[in-house]
Amino acid sequence: MSENWVFYYDFNRCIGCHSCAVSCKNYHNRDPGVSQREREMADWRNVNHYESDEGDAFEEIPISTSCMHCHDAPCVDVCPVDIIEIREEDGIVTHDRPDCISCKQCLDACPYDAPTFSEAEDNKMSKCNLCLGQGTGSAHGQDKRETPEDGGVKPSCVDNCVGEAIKAGPEEEMLELASDEAVERFENGAHNQRVIVEPMRTGSEDVESLVDRVGEGN
């Protein structure tokens, strides 16, 4: 158990609506009115849809992911200029953005394809900061992340999740609201304990493997 912040994801409540991704973009003022194509600014939170089979057996499973603020973040290890850190106080992975050299090694290393680079932002890396700050490059050096109960903001993706499928908070709080099965999986090392995922109620696809496939280019 730790006070480090983690995401919790319940596939059974995700309706694939992308509200999380839209909300993130609005909150962080990533030009909601301008299309991705024009601004070349990738989303910090993504919803991927995995289709399989056909006929009665057809399945389509939405998986919403962002930077998971991994306790063992691979991006930290590969960054040649050493600007990415896992914050001791809350486990949120931030970076000292002005010093980014745009080598994109963090993107290659990330299991969730979370780091983004765009011309519109000087090609320097930006990604989810768990709403520790508002906007690109705003999180580095911020004080400890407070929970909404203590006056912190609720992460924007969580705030507008129609199905309440995404939650975020200190790991111990998230484990308390997870099902026994999800806790057991987490404690057995599912996803390297980077994210807490509920087992699927219906559907034959294995949500565990789908979450891990996000960074593999589908």
Binding site: G16, H18, V22, S23, N26, G33, R37, E54, E59
Partner: protein, 791 residues
């Protein structure tokens, strides 16, 4: 304010925000100068040049909080909007909101469509000022010019054609005065609305005639143990987010079984215990077979049927030979599965509900499908019982024309009420007046049909139209409608976006978008199964550019027509306050206390117990207009099987595929396809965001695609006997072989600025349900790579 009887914290959860003084984040400018606006049209947002605003350069820009009632699908989910320097910058939901949350103690959210409303406020694609047609071209005009021009043209139209040939096609307006203006003052009896004519006529009308109103759409999810999504996808295409939340809650808390009956896979199907991939347009057969099982197994509610219903014998006779084996042949669903679902539904009843809406109402044989499905509710006696078909109640509101208090010009004493004339009195609708429509059974039931309007224009029975936040070109015989719009002598459009109607109008009034207007919602179904409610909001920001809220547009037009005396309100907020006087509330009160809704009266279940007559009719012989229409259409008044093709198209021969149009979670109807953010999401959803294309996608089964050499990302032509369209293919096993769909509201005539994609109604001619005239949207087509040969 949310609930005067409950202790609610009502704290804003995101951050400490200022709640604006008069509830609005930005003070709304007085309307006193509206009717003397002779300033040249400008593209500068008016709120940047407010002369009376005190200049406070030293004050840092502060986020302010405002509320909204989402209008994109007009189902009023609560919105909490962050406004900075007059701009809408962020948006989230209202906790505990009746439409936008799962109920008391739960969090409110805003779906992608609702979130896009903050983009719409500042969208440069919007219509920014009034336009009038001069020498054949639209030109920018001042408001005074536009009102005066419209008034002259309307007067001339009345002289030339008679006002009764002017069609009021106003849709989901945010003010209650629009229909009064056209009917009572201008004096036209012609009116076409959306719900019955192009959305789900058979669902509404069968429900109404069978005794349950249109409550057959939304069951009492929160208390349900068995939910059937019958041709519905309420996890994506919801009428308020409470629907999706209610279904998920029922699964989690009641261990409810969810069954989806749909030819195409949806998110609702994905989350279901059972997905029955039914053959399109055979829902009526499945419903009859379910009744057959329920009656055979003695699982129906005998006392309810005996004491509260009419026509059970006719129903029993109709289903007697409709065994699951019989239905299996029609529907493609295993007989055993049909038995299992029927028994599951009946055993869970009365805590078992069906949701039906558009999916089972948008084909030509849908009247009987709707009747057969709705009948199942009466059979298992779930009517107005927890978890079943809820007879939802709405909060009462006052008629603002009756309760308003004002001092007429030249008088010293205030008076109450506006003495509105009825200038439509004695005037007949074209369908009743002229013999040309006597072949249509629907004339016994309905006053007009969408697909008949072009004929009426051809015949000179309709000569002009007022279109308001709607686009008839996306619903029905689009090609004929396009010609009709050209042919009409006078077209007036009020809208936020350019589309095939506004571009061809004689007068264009630029409507403010939802967050720039005062709005009120009082609807029935919600996350609260036993409470009525109201939700309201003042404008979050001022109308952008040179736009105006729709009340001010109608009032301005009325003043120019010499009818200003009938509109004593300064703005829609005063009207809403008059409406709310019935429940002793004001808009300001609604917006105080950390939310923008109020729960009102509690109401009981089984309300039918307090009335003497029957509650439910299986057989509709008691309604003479329907009996007449049914006889002419060749159907009985009882539940009955009508195979696909009885009316409308039947795929085969040159046109072997069945085409249908659907909705995506990113768009509602045809109003927001202009928004780039929404287009982008839709493209990403299909992993086609790298293509230089932002139209709709044709979902094609892999085998149908392979037969035609089509791959995802290819441009294809969809061709019917009467029309065609071009769009991008998306090959997926989510649909049945032979069944192909796209999202409607794109292509020629749509609000998509480049008119990209296919107008799904370009393949439609005049297919309809004979009883309601509801546009039938299942069309026989073939598909080929663009420029290629049909198979």
């Amino acid at each position: 304010m949310s609930d005067s009887t409950e202790d609610r914290s009502g704290l804003t959860r995101r951050r400490l925000l200022q709640v604006g003084g008069a509830s609005a984040a930005v003070a709304i400018a007085g309307c006193g100068d509206i009717y003397s606006d002779d300033n040249p049209a400008t593209e500068t947002p008016t709120n940047e040049t407010e002369p009376d605003e005190p200049d406070q350069p030293d004050e840092p820009a502060t986020d302010q909080l405002a509320y909204g009632n989402c209008w994109i699908c007009h189902h009023n989910c609560g919105q909490e909007v962050t406004v900075k320097d007059g701009a809408t910058v962020d948006i989230t939901g209202v906790d505990g909101h009746p439409r936008g949350s799962a109920g008391a103690g739960t969090e409110g959210t805003v779906c992608p469509k609702g979130q896009a409303q903050i983009e719409k406020v500042h969208d440069p694609e919007r219509i920014k000022q009034p336009y009038i047609r001069e020498n054949g071209e639209l030109r920018e005009a001042t408001w005074d010019e536009a009102f005066s021009y419209a008034a002259d043209r309307l007067e001339q139209f009345d002289d030339d054609h008679g006002s009764e040939t002017f069609l009021n096609a106003a849709s989901w307006t945010t003010t209650p005065v629009v229909n009064r203006f056209w009917k009572n003052l201008y004096g036209t009896p012609e009116r076409i609305s959306r719900g019955i004519h192009v959305c789900a006529g058979p669902t509404f009308m069968t429900g109404g005639m069978m005794g349950v109103g249109s409550n057959n759409r939304i069951p009492d999810y929160q208390n349900s143990e068995f939910i059937i999504a019958w041709g519905r996808n309420m996890l994506e295409s919801f009428a308020g987010q409470f629907e999706a939340k209610g279904v998920l809650t029922a699964i989690e808390e009641n261990d409810a079984t969810l069954v989806t009956i749909d030819p195409q896979h949806t998110e609702t199907a994905q989350k279901s215990d059972e997905w029955l991939q039914i053959r399109p347009r055979t829902d009526g057969a499945l419903a009859l077979a379910m009744a057959n099982v329920i009656i055979e197994e003695g699982l129906y509610d005998e006392s309810f049927v005996r004491e509260e219903t009419v026509g059970f014998e006719a129903y029993r006779n109709a289903v007697e030979d409709k065994t699951p084996e019989w239905a299996a042949e029609k529907t493609g669903i295993d007989a055993e599965k049909i038995r299992e679902i029927a028994v599951g539904f009946a055993e869970a009843a009365p805590a078992a509900g069906i949701s039906q809406w558009t999916g089972t109402a948008q084909y030509a044989n849908s009247w009987k499908a709707s009747q057969n499905i709705t009948a199942l509710n009466g059979l298992v006696g779930n009517i107005d019982r927890p978890g079943g078909l809820r007879l939802w109640q709405s909060a009462p509101t006052a008629d603002p024309f009756e309760v308003c208090e004002f001092t007429p010009e030249g008088e010293s004493e205030p008076i109450q009420g506006v003495d509105l004339p009825n200038n439509a009195e004695g005037k007949q609708k074209a369908i009743d007046k002229h013999d040309e429509y006597s072949e249509y059974p629907l004339r016994h039931i309905e006053g007009i049909a969408h697909n008949l309007v072009p004929d009426m224009v051809d015949n000179g029975h309709i000569n002009g139209i007022y279109v308001h936040y709607d686009n008839p070109l996306k619903d029905g015989n689009a090609a004929a409608w396009r010609e009709a719009i050209e042919e009409m002598d006078l077209v007036i459009a009020t809208d936020a976006y350019w589309n095939g109607v506004s571009r061809n109008a004689d007068v264009v009034f630029p409507d403010a978008s939802q967050l720039e207007k005062d709005t009120l919602g009082t609807g029935s179904w919600s996350a609260y199964s036993d409470r009525t409610w109201v939700t309201g909001s003042t404008a979050a920001v001022e109308p952008q550019w040179n736009t105006r809220p729709d009340y001010e547009i109608i009032a301005g037009l009325a003043a120019a027509m010499g009818w200003g005396e009938y509109f004593p309100w300064e703005d829609n907020r005063e009207i809403i306050n008059d409406q709310l006087s019935e429940v002793d509330l004001t808009l300001s009160e609604l917006e105080s206390g950390g939310d923008n809704y109020e729960l009102l009266a509690e109401y009981e279940y089984e309300t039918w117990k307090s009335s003497d007559g029957p509650t439910f009719w299986f057989d509709l012989g008691h309604i003479p207009p329907f009996a007449n229409a049914a006889e002419e259409a060749g159907m009985t008044t009882a539940p009955e099987w009508q195979p696909p093709g009885t009316y409308g198209d039947e795929p085969g021969g040159e046109y072997p595929l069945e085409f249908y149009d659907t909705r995506a979670v990113f768009f509602s109807h045809g109003g927001d396809q202009a928004l780039k953010g929404s287009q982008e999401r839709y493209a990403r959803r299909h992993e086609l965001e790298d293509e230089d294309y932002r139209g709709n996608y044709l979902v094609l089964h892999p085998d149908d695609a392979a037969d035609r050499g089509i791959e995802t990302g290819d441009m294809v032509d969809v061709v019917s006997e009467t029309g065609s369209g071009e769009l991008m293919a998306y090959v997926s096993g989510s649909t049945r072989r032979g069944f192909t769909t796209t999202v409607y509201g794109f292509g020629p005539g749509s609000v998509q600025p480049e008119e990209e994609g296919m107008n799904s109604m370009d393949v439609h001619s005049k297919q309809m349900d004979p009883i309601t005239g509801m546009v039938a949207r299942h069309i026989a087509v073939d598909v080929a790579p663009t420029g290629g040969e049909l198979s």
